[in-house]
């Protein structure tokens, strides 16, 4: 369809400009010398410097990374088991409830999830803090992990497992030598998805956190409400760079795995 080349390129240009221009502006103005975010006053890295002297921000970033790493491990573990239950166990009683509980958190507004988690922690008399955020994040991210892993499982040739058993491998060897290597890329992407979702979450963290466990999005949010500052631009740019790097590495790894 070469006749439609021009409108196609125009659509692509407009679409990607819409998607990336706000991010680009944000990054560019993180290097602005002026305190005014929208008026360019020369190149400077002073906001990055001041960022690293902001102890509260650094502490929050540390908490966020720890919460994300831990909750992503739990979510991947739970998500793997859930994916097997959905894909391989056939019918069992209350399967419908289980399926609903896996898929509902994908679309239910985070405010409801956060609110309900807060209520259960209050009702159980649990002090809110680091571990309640981990539990909350592990819960909603395990559903995403389950979906990713289930898709991979569904695409896996069942006859590979049968072949392994036919060749004398018991269930443990079949899982370790045949299923797990096939599943590994999905486990990695499930963990990454869970990690990033947790790192990004503001709402559930706000409901489940306690004193001394302010995550990075919570810290950013409270500053953003007071107005746009170049320091937040710098912080955001660093986060974007980190995510961009992670995406790039996983894309390269994915390509290597395929070939």
């Amino acid at each position: 369809m070469t006749s439609a080349r021009l409108p196609r390129l125009a659509t692509l240009a407009f679409g990607f400009a819409f998607l990336y221009a706000p991010i680009a502006l944000l990054v560019i103005y993180s290097f602005n010398a002026s305190k005014l975010v929208t008026v360019w006053a020369g190149f400077s890295t002073r906001w990055y410097a001041s960022l690293f002297s902001n102890a509260a921000l650094i502490a929050s970033a540390k908490i966020s990374l720890q919460v994300a790493a831990l909750s992503a491990i739990i979510a991947t573990f739970n998500g793997t088991l859930a994916a097997f239950a959905l894909e391989r166990f056939g019918a069992f009683r209350t399967r419908g409830v289980f399926v609903g509980a896996i898929y509902a958190p994908l679309v239910i507004p985070e405010v409801i999830l956060g609110l309900s988690l807060l209520l259960i922690f209050v009702a159980l008399g649990v002090d809110r803090g680091f571990w309640t955020i981990v539990a909350g994040h592990a819960t909603f991210t395990m559903c995403f992990a389950a979906v990713v892993i289930r898709a991979r499982l569904a695409g896996m040739d069942r006859s590979l497992e049968e072949a392994a058993m036919d060749l004398g491998a018991g269930p443990v060897m079949t899982f370790a030598r045949v299923v797990l290597p096939q599943l590994a890329p999905a486990l990695v992407s499930a963990w990454m998805l869970a990690f990033i979702l947790s790192l990004d979450d503001l709402v559930i963290a706000s409901f489940t956190s306690g004193p001394g466990s302010t995550t990075l999005p919570m810290r950013i949010y409270s500053q953003v409400r007071l107005g746009v500052t170049p320091e937040i631009n710098a912080m955001s740019s660093l986060l974007l760079a980190a995510v961009g790097l992670a995406l790039f590495i996983s894309a390269i790894a994915g390509r290597r795995h395929e070939s």
Binding site: L9, L25, A82, P109, I112, M165, L247
Partner: protein
């Protein structure tokens, strides 16, 4: 090898995720329902429980009769909640419509690109989803402010004389929602377009249909499942959105997520917020079930 049913090994594999979800998802939801049926008092926790474990069965029956639907009656009488629901649905609906108008041409343009470049383009279209939601919303503040980039640009080219007031209005909220959820909409539409056989279009052209007729009669109808999936994936969470209306909206932007947040953290009216959550869930469960039915039917065919 048994095809279905639970062996002992399978049961122990199921108990862990099921138990986790029961504790951290199902039980909390049940609790929300219970608290929504309680009376509001000023205390910590700020509600008078409707049921307690110590009540026993008889006690539960006794209390069930004395259920307080006050919170729900309050919702009906409180114009704030009614307005929140209506305006949430309207804002989410308008946003979904605009997102489709942007996402469809973009998905189509990607699907019709050189096959070698397609996967890179779709990855680029989805990549912003991986970056912080909060940061992407934040980026729009600097653009939409009265003295922001957009007004600077429009005034510089002489299109307007005075700055437009977009920031802190519902327009900004719609822009923010469209922007944030666009990857969710592009991906399913692209998937349904990409797997369409090019021979179908060639057959339509061969049978005398022009490019426009081919689009309306072949391409669009075949991509409708992707359009519906994308629209629902965006609409449902957008209804309950909190961050975007809070950061980009004005004081007159009323969305249910924000109303519930305020009732919870500022007014400390937990029963009202819980009742609000239950009503919202009921509003959203309908489309979810409809979508799930559609999906399973599609898989069966």
């Amino acid at each position: 090898m048994p095809r279905g049913g639970l062996t002992r090994g399978r049961l122990s594999a199921l108990v862990i995720p099921y138990g986790w979800l029961a504790l951290f998802f199902l039980a909390p939801l049940a609790l929300v329902l219970k608290i929504s049926l309680s009376k509001s008092i000023i205390a910590q926790p700020p509600y008078e429980p409707a049921f307690g474990a110590s009540d026993g069965l008889a006690g539960w029956f006794e209390k069930a009769r004395a259920f307080s639907v006050a919170a729900y009656r309050g919702l009906g009488e409180d114009p704030l909640y009614l307005e929140s629901y209506l305006s949430s649905l309207a804002i989410a609906g308008v946003s979904t419509l605009f997102a489709l108008l942007i996402a469809y041409p973009l998905a189509l343009a990607i699907a019709r690109s050189d096959p070698r470049r397609r996967s890179l383009l779709i990855a680029l279209a989805v990549a912003p989803f991986w970056t912080s939601f909060l940061i992407r919303v934040y980026a729009w503040i600097a653009i939409l402010k009265d003295e922001g980039f957009l007004n600077h640009a429009l005034m510089a080219i002489g299109l307007i004389d005075a700055p437009l007031t977009i920031y802190a209005t519902n327009v900004a909220v719609v822009i923010g929602i469209v922007y944030s959820y666009l990857p969710f909409v592009v991906l399913p539409i692209y998937n349904s377009l990409e797997k369409q056989d090019a021979a179908l279009r060639e057959a339509a052209a061969d049978l005398g249909a022009g490019p426009l007729a081919t689009f309306w009669k072949v391409t669009l109808p075949l991509s409708l499942p992707g359009v519906i999936a994308g629209a629902l994936l965006m609409f449902i969470p957008a209804v309950g959105e909190f961050v975007i209306p809070d950061l980009l909206g004005g004081s007159d932007t009323i969305m249910i997520g924000r109303t519930m947040w305020n009732d919870f953290f500022e007014n400390r009216d937990w029963p009202a917020a819980s009742a609000g959550a239950i009503v919202l869930l009921i509003l959203l469960v309908g489309p979810i079930i409809w979508f799930e039915r559609r999906q399973t039917k599609g898989q069966g065919a």
